[in-house]
């Protein structure tokens, strides 16, 4: 039986049957049927709930005359993503702002939640960055195909017709490598940051770990920024041939 956080244990106590039924419907049999929900899944659910609450509260208190602090935070985040998308994608960037904002918030909260005692960094498990990278990968290809139709394939074959088969294989490799590089960068950085904080907590339980917790927060911000920026660059490349 794996070690469980209190939230994971609580979820497994009440939702193990539902989780087993969902996993069984796709022919997946968890190693521990009494605890099918793992810590990182519980953390993702928590991040999901936090973000839903955040958006619900901001939406309910939306005011032009008297914007509250949460509205200021939401507006700052949105304008940051809008400016960046406008700079990287150019014309028609508005369509992608929603996805990029949610992606950034999910990764950021998933990274920072590890600083709260009793919780774990969701992105320190390889499955979570892999999920974000795969969703981004499918999203930018979908947008590329949606805007360029069959012409999107031209991105993969290059300008020289007799080199097209080789270029196609190389481009497929190159695009698949993006999933791996996005995943490894986020996972490795957050895992290492977690480990460093943990080691210093073990060595010096008082005072010193605060420095490493601040470092963890810094790493979380930088990694979120890079992930979202690269997602923007990939979307920009996929939809660039529209113009």
């Amino acid at each position: 039986m794996p070690e469980q956080l209190w939230l994971t244990a609580l979820l497994n106590k009440y939702l193990a049957g539902v989780a087993n039924a969902i996993l069984g419907s796709v022919h997946v049999h968890p190693a521990y049927p009494q605890a099918p929900i793992t810590n990182y899944v519980a953390m993702q659910l928590l991040v999901f709930v936090i973000l839903i609450l955040f958006f619900a509260i901001v939406r309910a208190r939306l005011s032009v005359d008297d914007p509250g602090p949460l509205q200021h935070v939401a507006e700052s985040l949105n304008s940051f993503i809008v400016n960046q998308s406008h700079e990287v994608i150019g014309h028609g960037y508005e369509r992608y702002v929603g996805y990029l904002t949610v992606l950034g918030l999910f990764i950021l909260v998933g990274c920072l939640i590890g600083l709260v005692p009793g919780f774990e960094t969701a992105t320190a498990s390889p499955s979570v960055p892999l999920g974000c990278a795969l969703v981004t990968w499918f999203y930018y290809h979908f947008q590329g195909i949606r805007l360029n139709g069959f012409g999107y394939i031209k991105n993969f074959i290059g300008p020289v017709w007799w080199l097209a088969p080789l270029m196609f294989v190389i481009e497929v490799c190159s695009h698949l490598a993006r999933v791996l590089s996005l995943t490894i960068r986020l996972f490795a950085n957050m895992f290492a940051s977690d480990m460093v904080t943990l080691v210093f907590f073990t060595l010096f339980p008082i005072g010193i770990p605060i420095i490493f917790m601040l470092l963890h927060a810094g790493v979380a911000l930088i990694q979120t920024y890079i992930f979202v920026l690269l997602a923007t660059v990939y979307i920009g490349e996929a939809v660039a041939h529209e113009h």
């Binding site: 700079e87 990287v88 994608i89 150019g90 014309h91 294989v169 190389i170 481009e171 490799c173 190159s174 698949l176 490598a177 993006r178 791996l180 590089s181 490894i184 960068r185 920024y225 890079i226 920026l229 690269l230 660059v233 920009g236 660039a240 113009h243």
Partner: protein, 73 residues
């Protein structure tokens, strides 16, 4: 109106994020090539396509890297 090329007005941050990919792109492409080669070996019952995968992955990594550093910024 003439469309703008997004690459024409990239800030330092975008260029920095792009260049941060360089450290990952070659190993990631080699691993992807190896995995694709292994998959083809498994499907076609061969024992040498993983080597082709590694070579194609390396080429893909280098092509992507060269393209990235020569992109106008």
């Amino acid at each position: 109106m003439a469309a703008e090329d997004p690459d024409d007005k990239q800030s330092a941050a975008v260029v920095w994020a792009r260049y941060s990919q360089i450290a990952f792109i070659i190993p990631a492409a080699v691993v992807v090539g190896l995995l694709l080669g292994k998959l083809l070996d498994y499907w076609l019952h061969t024992h040498w396509l993983f080597l082709v995968g590694i070579i194609v992955g390396s080429i893909a990594g280098f092509v992507d890297m060269i393209r990235m550093v020569t992109r106008k910024s």
